[in-house]
């Protein structure tokens, strides 16, 4: 009797299982990258591009196969739903690691897009997000020769697994979403440019306010920003000493800042400590007095930092989070209003402290 009961129970439970909507892996299309553009069609403003992975038994450079599907639609989610009718397998966003926003859309308004991404449960918050130039669709159509897995090139460029470029700022979706809502911390993301060959260039950073792009940093500025805000080593800086070009590589960098009144003016004081090794320098530098070289480098570095911070300030954005620090150090709900009036006129003082560790392998 008890045995029959148990068998009956097992059958009931198994019967319940069958209703789960499980689809086999070969009946799924994995979306590896999603691109969003503005279309010229006013009624259907969004142009959605999906890069779908085509599974292939070969794993070798250049063997990656992808399928690109594009649709124009009134809203993002309707477009994605509609795209399901274009393909034969179930679309799965579980492996979508890269989102590219077309430049035109990013310059207009990104808020709807962000909301859609955060609302979808299957879009991972750790995915990377970037701006595509000239547009997302043409970027997704690029087929890099060295790509082993579908969509891998873009993804490798972002993470720390593959290349780690000091020019590329890496932005995750969750960080972007935080910055898009936070008072005193503004979003930023890398800009991907398609070059004439089949590859990408990611050496610019776009600074955004709560709605759209305000400023795009040039490659040297992007690197400087990564050093300042992210303490990014594996990068270099350029300096002059007695009219001769010097290039040093950073082995260590620590930056901190505080906000306070100096001589009656609100000032952001930034202290940057770094240790450097020469990569390009005239011969005989080893014998010279390093302290004077350090002083010279400090001066140049501080000057370029202040210039960058001023430029960011003029654009009316705050990606470093000065505003948030001000709120943290000034309790009370009025701090944010105060900061909004302070920031446009705030003074920057950068104190660089560069230590030369060596001249490389030659004197």
């Amino acid at each position: 009797m008890r045995l029959t009961n148990r068998i009956l129970l097992a059958i009931i439970v198994l019967g319940m299982l069958s209703s789960c909507g499980f689809k086999d892996i070969d009946k799924r299309f994995f979306v590896v990258a999603l691109g969003l553009d503005m279309s010229d069609n006013e009624k259907k403003p969004y142009r959605i591009t999906l890069q779908l992975a085509v599974p292939s038994p070969k794993i070798e450079p250049g063997a990656s196969k992808t399928q690109i599907e594009t649709i124009e639609s009134e809203s993002i989610s309707e477009g994605v739903r509609m795209l399901k009718a274009y393909v034969d397998k179930e679309l799965d966003f579980g492996h979508c690691k890269v989102f590219i926003i077309g430049e035109k859309l990013a310059r207009k308004d990104y808020r709807d897009l962000l909301q859609w991404m955060m609302r979808r449960r299957d879009i991972q918050s750790v995915a990377d997000i970037a701006i595509g130039k000239p547009d997302a669709e043409s970027l997704l159509k690029v087929r890099p020769v060295s790509e082993r897995y579908p969509g891998n090139t873009l993804f490798l460029s972002f993470g720390a697994d593959g290349t780690e470029s000091s020019y590329t700022y890496v932005e995750s979706l969750s960080d972007f979403s935080r910055r898009a809502t936070e008072e005193g911390l503004d979003p930023l993301m890398p800009v991907i440019v398609k070059d004439n060959k089949q590859s990408f260039i990611m050496n610019r950073t776009a600074l955004l306010n709560k709605k759209k792009v305000k400023l795009v940093l040039s490659p040297p500025e992007s690197q400087l920003y990564n050093q300042l805000a992210m303490d990014f080593t594996k990068s270099s800086m350029h300096g002059m000493f007695e009219g001769i070009n010097l290039v040093v590589a950073l082995t260590e960098i620590h930056s901190k800042y505080h906000i306070g009144k100096q001589n009656g003016e609100e000032t952001i004081t930034m202290d940057i400590k770094m240790k450097v090794v020469f990569e390009e320098a005239p011969k005989g530098l080893y014998e010279r007095d390093w302290a004077s070289i350090e002083r010279q480098l400090n001066k140049i570095y501080a000057k370029s930092c202040v210039a960058l911070l001023r430029k960011i300030q003029k654009a009316g954005v705050d990606p470093v989070g000065f505003g948030l620090r001000y709120r943290a150090t000034h309790p009370g709900s009025g701090a944010w209003k105060q900061w909004e009036s302070i920031y446009p006129t705030v003074k920057f003082v950068v104190r660089a402290n560069i230590k030369i560790e060596g001249t490389g392998l030659i004197k």
Binding site: V13, S125, E182
Partner: protein, 366 residues
């Protein structure tokens, strides 16, 4: 034996994430949540000390037996049924949230009621076992899952994404007056002691509570992580827009060289395990409380035979849970939960004082 107390304590403090405690606290982050947390820590720690020292005088006895020693039977029966309802409700909120979570993150095509029915079936069966077996299941459940939760929390605290400025901004609001709802939510972290009402039966006569200082410390750690880590991850403003705040926080982290890259799935699986363990333990206690109202009831901690009444009582709990799920939705559930948390705090304070006073009276009389 002290570990049985500790298991109950950490189980409840971990499960707070399923009871929308971080959600409630974060909603009130500018209007008194931080100071409420401090008040909650004080209240919670005092209750832990009071209840454990009161129960230490009644070894091998649960709450119903203690009350029966001193109070009229009708009063005990009424309060037992009432307590059972409270326990049932806590677990119901948790298991319903668990079913919804599975539906949202694992399989959106599945029917939530069906998922809930399966969870309830498993928990219900486990809850009908004897008190000692239930305690063992809690022990195994925690030994398997707690290290993973600690790992995720540690990873979150050490993450470079954590913005300490945002945490400082919110911490500065400590000067705001505490509010009732947030104090109630904060004290929930410490509420594991109330599970001793039944599990005190397991403690032998010469038992003494040891290392009681660890409970406030552990509670403070969990409470601060629960509240501040999501703020550090999602910012002072963005944090308020999410419903499943901790799931999102776990999703913001990446385990590059783990077997599963997304911490979210690890986190969800572990939390669903805890949900099952908590529901089982809660139903078992509620069942024992109701059984103590029966005339010829005799508390047994490890009876070889399962009584029919166990199945009947837990069956009623299970069907009420499914009914509750059908009658409510996410929003109403959340709303009721915040009321329940406040109500629970008062009931628990009353219970603790009641038992504490009884235990002192006895010692002075004797």
């Amino acid at each position: 034996m002290n570990r049985y107390f500790f298991y109950n304590f950490i189980l409840v403090s971990f499960i707070n994430l399923m009871l929308y405690v971080p959600h409630i606290l974060i909603q009130l982050r500018y209007s008194g949540a931080v100071s409420s947390m401090l008040v909650g820590i004080v209240i919670g720690s005092i209750l832990v000390y009071m209840y454990s020292s009161a129960l230490a005088r009644y070894p091998e006895k649960g709450l119903p037996e203690i009350l029966k020693l001193h109070c009229p039977k009708w009063l005990v029966s009424i309060s037992m049924v009432f307590f059972a309802a409270m326990w049932w409700f806590a677990t119901t909120i948790v298991v319903v949230a668990g079913a919804i979570l599975i539906n949202r993150f694992f399989n959106p095509d599945a029917n939530v009621t069906l998922l809930l029915a399966m969870l309830v079936l498993a928990c219900g069966y486990a809850a009908t076992r004897s008190t000692l077996s239930v305690m063992f299941i809690v022990e195994i459940g925690l030994i398997v899952n707690a290290p993973i939760i600690m790992f995720v929390m540690f990873k979150a605290v050490r993450s470079p994404q954590l913005n300490w400025d945002a945490i400082r901004v919110v911490a500065n609001y400590v000067t705001k007056m505490p509010t009732l709802t947030s104090v109630a939510a904060a004290t929930f972290i410490f509420t594991g002691y109330i599970n001793l009402s039944i599990f005190n039966r397991l403690f032998p006569p010469n038992f003494r509570f040891k290392f009681r200082w660890i409970y406030p410390l552990f509670g403070i750690m969990i409470l601060f992580i629960t509240f501040f880590v999501p703020i550090g991850f999602h910012g002072t403003e963005g944090v308020n827009q999410y419903i499943y705040i901790w799931s999102l926080t776990a999703d913001s982290m990446l385990m590059q060289y783990g077997f599963i890259e997304r911490i979210l799935f690890l986190f969800l699986i572990v939390y669903l395990n805890l949900t099952l363990v908590y529901t089982m333990s809660g139903w078992h206690q509620a069942m024992e409380l109701i059984k103590s109202c029966f005339r010829n009831s005799k508390p047994e901690i490890d009876s070889p035979k399962t009584l029919i009444s166990n199945y009947v009582i837990v069956g009623i709990f299970a069907s009420l849970t499914i009914l509750y799920h059908m009658l409510t939705n996410e929003k109403i559930n959340m709303y009721i939960t915040s009321f329940w948390l406040v109500f629970r705090m008062f009931i628990e304070i009353l219970t603790v004082i009641w038992v504490f006073v009884l235990s002192r009276r006895r010692s002075t009389a004797a």
